[in-house]
Amino acid sequence: MRKIRTLRSQLIAWLAVPLLVLWSLSTVVDYDVARRFVDLAYDRQLLEAALDIGRQVKVADNRIYVDLPEVALQMLQTREIDRLYYLVTGPENEFITGEPDLPALSDPTTDRVRYYDEEYRGQLIRAVAVRVPVQPGSARGAVMIHVAERLTIRADSARQLIFGMVLPQALLVFATALAVWYGVGRGLKPLASLRQEIESRSHRDLSALPEAQAPNEVQPLIRAMNDLLARLSAALASQQRFIADAAHQLRTPLAGIKTQTELALRNAQSDEVQATLRQLHTATEQTTRLVNQLLSLARAEPGARREHATEPLDLGALARNTTTEWVPRALERNIDLGFDGPDAAVKIDGNAFLLKELLNNVLDNAIRYTQRGGQVTVRVVPDTRTVKLAVEDTGPGIPARERERVFERFYRLLGGGSEGCGLGLAIVREIAQSHGAEITLDAGPNGVGTAVQIAFPRAT
């Protein structure tokens, strides 16, 4: 979950940060451009004004004057935006009209038009100086017309312009981020469903992930994961094959030791040798049991699972037959082993071999730990949705706080005797889980002994 969110915010970050930087840069550039256009436009207005004034320069009686009507003057001075300042000087730089203190171009050049920035009455101004010849062709020289305006209005205009451009851009950035956020979410949906698929899997399911609906970008990932899953399950299977092979290999020498020991027990004369042989025999039996359980565990584990296909089977019949096989063992220990289940078939989906192993292990424990004269009962109880397989004994029971731990491998109850190797219930749990069954451990009827209950889902 967190990883996917990180991917999304990473994408957002990778998109939003450059967008914001670009946006800032573009604001600066835009402002510059806007300023330039504003300058251009305002400069042209200044020039227009100057040329207007220039057209009114008249010469009469050798006197130069500007014939500005009152209305025109007022228009210049009370413009909507800001007033204009002007100054007209004669060829000898003499004042003709306007604001006498308006800074004139310090070095009158020969250019016809010249723009310049100055300070006037404590404010920055932009001014244009236009050289207007007094009378074309005459040598009287030229009149300089200066028109100026404060710079602040240009900044205001540029600012207005930039706001008009930058705000929509900001909105665009924001909208892009939103679209990306949503789009990424949509785009990553296959990953989210992949995640769900993986999360909801049991640890024993190493089958390939579905590849079909995933977008092209995700497919290589799924393929790589499937490849890994395949290698993993192959490795697991080979490990289990190894354990199974090892266990099988051990069986023949064990059979040899066992046969020789039993033979020697028959023939041994001295009590001491008899006692030694009996110890040897017990050890052989324990080793045999351990080897068999290792084998069961290797078989029950996920990697070996595909070798054990499930099919609908009658749990009642399976439990009855398995219990029957244990009767001689139970009688040897003078334990009353019984079965209680319906005559009618009770179907579940399962693997007969593994289920038999499961019941064998539960029964082995029950018979091993129940004292002589005790009782062990196997029950099959069909319910609406489940079928319960229960083994109840009148043994010493398992303290409530130990009940979860006994399912761990090689866990043994203190004072439980030295016979068990602690693998039995681990096998039981492994097989129960692979059948989707729920296993509970309780005290037996009337609080005596142990009741192992395994609830299997009924076959549909």
């Binding site: 059979a255 030791i257 039993e262 033979l263 009855r320 029957t324 001689p328 009688l331 082993l337 079965f339």
Partner: protein, 226 residues
């Protein structure tokens, strides 16, 4: 009685050979499949104890060739594998019985006895259970040599129990045995026969146990009475 043991593990082969010799069987022992095949081609045996994991030619192949030649000698398979497939395959190829290693020696000896008996008897034989004897051909039973007064159905029930002495016999198996004698053999009828048998046998210490929910079991002779 001649028995051939085909087993490549020397310790196990030696143990089997000596224990069976102590029971007065003549025992030959080979360690490879091709030897087993060769010996079986030239010699006659009453029983073959065949390990499946033999070197060179495996037990399945030895068995297949043996049956292919038409030999009916009883074969007891020994195997380190307890997978169902192996068992089914062995029995399909014509094995008569099957033991998974490691096994109890008395169990093996009991199977050997049963297989040799089966191989020999053309039909009936004498079943013995401690002081109890049942002549399956003569349809009569004796206790310490004294004939028992049993009905045909009681005898039928006793025969099944003795055949599977020490193991559970369920009511269906008993009903199957009695099928044909009676049109309908219900569970209740079987209970009645067992009850009558018990009354007649118990004074002599022969115990038929009821196994809750499973059936009946003829206790092995000499089993401690608790």
């Amino acid at each position: 009685m001649r028995i051939l043991i085909a087993e490549d593990d020397p310790v196990l082969a030696d143990g089997l050979t000596r224990s069976l010799r102590q029971s007065d069987y003549a025992v030959d022992c080979v360690a490879t499949g091709d030897q087993a095949d060769h010996v079986l081609l030239t010699q006659n045996y009453d029983l073959v104890i065949l390990d499946l994991g033999l070197p060179r030619v495996d037990g399945f192949e030895v068995l297949r060739r043996l049956r292919h030649r038409g030999s009916k000698v009883p074969v007891l398979i020994l195997t380190a594998r307890d997978g169902l497939d192996d068992r089914v395959r062995g029995l399909d190829l014509g094995a008569d019985d099957y033991l998974t290693k490691p096994f109890d020696l008395p169990e093996l000896e009991a199977r050997v006895r049963a297989l040799i008996r089966r191989g020999q008897s053309g039909g009936g034989s004498i079943l013995a259970h401690g002081a109890l004897q049942l002549d399956t051909a003569g349809r009569r039973a004796t206790l310490n040599g004294v004939p028992l007064d049993l009905s045909a159905r009681e005898l039928g029930v006793l025969e099944v129990l003795m055949h599977r002495s020490g193991r559970v016999v369920n009511k269906e198996q008993l009903a199957e045995q009695l099928y044909g004698w009676d049109e309908e053999v219900g569970a209740n009828a079987i209970e009645v026969y067992v009850h009558r048998l018990r009354r007649k046998l118990e004074p002599a210490g022969v115990v038929i146990r009821t196994i809750r929910g499973l059936g009946y079991l003829l206790e092995k002779p000499g089993h401690a009475e608790n």
